[in-house]
């Protein structure tokens, strides 16, 4: 089967660690946490007092009349997409050959909640006429399509915390099937609000380490007690290798393929045996034409919950086999960024691409006592050099609903 090769030519991000990719990446290599105590009064009513706010507010970058018409997810998406597009060289492209696949796990929830407050306090006439375009889950995809005149199609696959990995996976497909030459792909979340914290806290999914927020996100630590909610966006410019070569674009990596599966086990809990997750890894290897021994690095989903984390390492071992699994370097950048929910897969795909491109794997911080059930090699505390002969790396993202997505990147 002849497959169109897809390459990564631009990266953009706004995260708790920095307002762009360079700042975020250097913080990841330094092992810095982007998590902090929230300053809002309402935290007093909640069991969780901290989160990962983005480092640079959109109000510093976008004019106020744009801010008032864009949900916070759309603001983040545009900021990250602008960086990615500039990074790709801001090429002249036929609009009908340019696509946008931009996800959010939850959508414009802050708009919903704010406008409902307005409605209850001041009546229907004071509800913003932009409420609908701001709350719709396809809003970030539509905003990016509008901003960059992407007319090949705008899509917003929704699979909870796997959403933006799925966006990248679908974008690869969009180029392979000939629907577009270039796609701006990624995802975003902006959901830090007392109701959302209450909702995740109510299911006992969040860390409550209020006395030390920067060590709260501790994937694979024996004493992990939940994930840390963060906000932000990641965006990747994907392009057919032919199109990139024709314009002389810088290529970070080959977006080699994607693997999809669903646990169909429980609406929230992952299958503890990791069977579905292993199937996503097996599928991505087949789709990308890679052998298990080609995978030098996995940027794991591991969110710091007691129920997750270990099952993923079981899945990695099962899918790669013992000999390859013994050599793969695994990390969770969520230990520093917190969990960007629908933005996680995109930001972590960027970290995966940069690990290959720069030859450095960011560490997992905050592991004081490794969970004894972990049987893969975790990159702890300090960054590690990728072996010079490393071929490829995988980013894994899983979501409530049993969604499992793995995306593979290969050195050009």
């Amino acid at each position: 089967m002849s497959t169109t090769e897809v390459v990564v030519t631009g990266l953009g991000a706004t995260t708790p660690l920095g307002g762009d990719v360079a700042t975020t990446w250097s913080a990841l290599l330094e092992g810095r946490s982007g998590i902090d105590t929230l300053q809002e009064d309402w935290v007093a009513d909640l069991p969780v007092h901290f989160a990962g706010r983005i480092a640079v507010e959109p109000s510093e970058l976008l004019p106020r009349q744009r801010l008032r018409r864009l949900d916070r997810t759309q603001q983040f998406a545009l900021i990250a997409a602008q960086e990615a597009w500039q990074d790709a060289g801001a090429p002249e492209v036929d609009p009908v050959r340019l696509g946008a696949v931009v996800s959010s796990g939850i959508g414009g929830i802050l708009t919903v909640l704010e406008q409902y407050d307005t409605f209850r306090e001041r009546g229907w006439k004071r509800v913003s006429p932009f409420t609908v375009p701001m709350l719709m889950p396809n809003g970030p995809a539509a905003a990016v399509a509008l901003e960059f005149t992407a007319r090949a199609g705008a899509h917003a696959p929704v699979s909870a915390c796997a959403s933006s990995a799925e966006a990248i996976a679908d974008a690869i497909d969009m180029i392979r099937t000939g629907r577009a030459d270039m796609v701006i792909a990624g995802g975003v979340e902006a959901a830090i609000h007392p109701l959302n914290i209450a909702a995740f806290a109510s299911m006992r999914a969040l860390s409550t380490r209020n006395d030390d927020p920067k060590t709260a996100s501790r994937p694979w630590d024996a004493n992990r007690d939940g994930f840390v909610m963060s906000e932000g966006a990641g965006m990747i410019v994907l392009e057919s290798a032919e199109h990139a070569a024709a314009r002389g674009a810088r290529v970070y990596a080959v977006a080699a393929g994607a693997g999809y599966s669903d646990d169909a086990h429980d609406i929230v809990l992952p299958d503890p045996e990791g069977t579905g997750q292993a199937r996503a890894i097996t599928s991505v290897l087949a789709d990308a034409g890679l052998r298990p021994s080609d995978i030098a690095h996995v940027n794991a989903h591991a969110t710091s919950t007691p129920a997750g984390d270990v099952g993923e390492t079981v899945a990695i071992r099962a899918a790669l086999g013992d000999s390859a699994a013994d050599r793969v370097a695994v990390t969770s950048t969520k230990s520093m960024t917190g969990h960007l929910l629908g933005g996680a897969g995109a930001v972590e795909s960027i970290a995966t691409v940069l690990a290959l491109h720069e030859g450095r794997i960011p560490p997992t911080i905050n592991i004081e006592e490794l969970d004894p059930a972990v049987r893969v090699d975790i990159v702890r505390d300090k960054p590690r050099d990728l072996p010079a002969d490393a071929v490829a790396a995988i980013n894994e993202s899983f979501g409530f609903g049993g969604h499992n997505i793995a995306v593979a990147f290969r050195r050009p």
């Binding site: 004019p63 106020r64 009349q65 744009r66 008032r68 006439k125 004071r126 913003s128 006429p129 932009f130």
Partner: protein
Amino acid sequence: MAQHTEQEILDGLGEIIDEIAGVPAAEVTPEKSFVDDLDIDSLSMVEIAVAAQDKFGVEIPDDQLKDLKTVQDVVNFIQK
């Protein structure tokens, strides 16, 4: 309701339109058309009408809002 002078209304509309549509208040002059000159779309006009109601205490019903084409039209409506 106290009567507003034409200048008060113009100044007030200028502030509202600057805030909502990002058009500098100095450009909000009587002869300007909202759609053709100030590039203001129908959803923004809804916001502007609600803000004008808050500021001047005059409700602009939907069926009359669509007939208000220029800044002067709004000034006249509020003064009426």
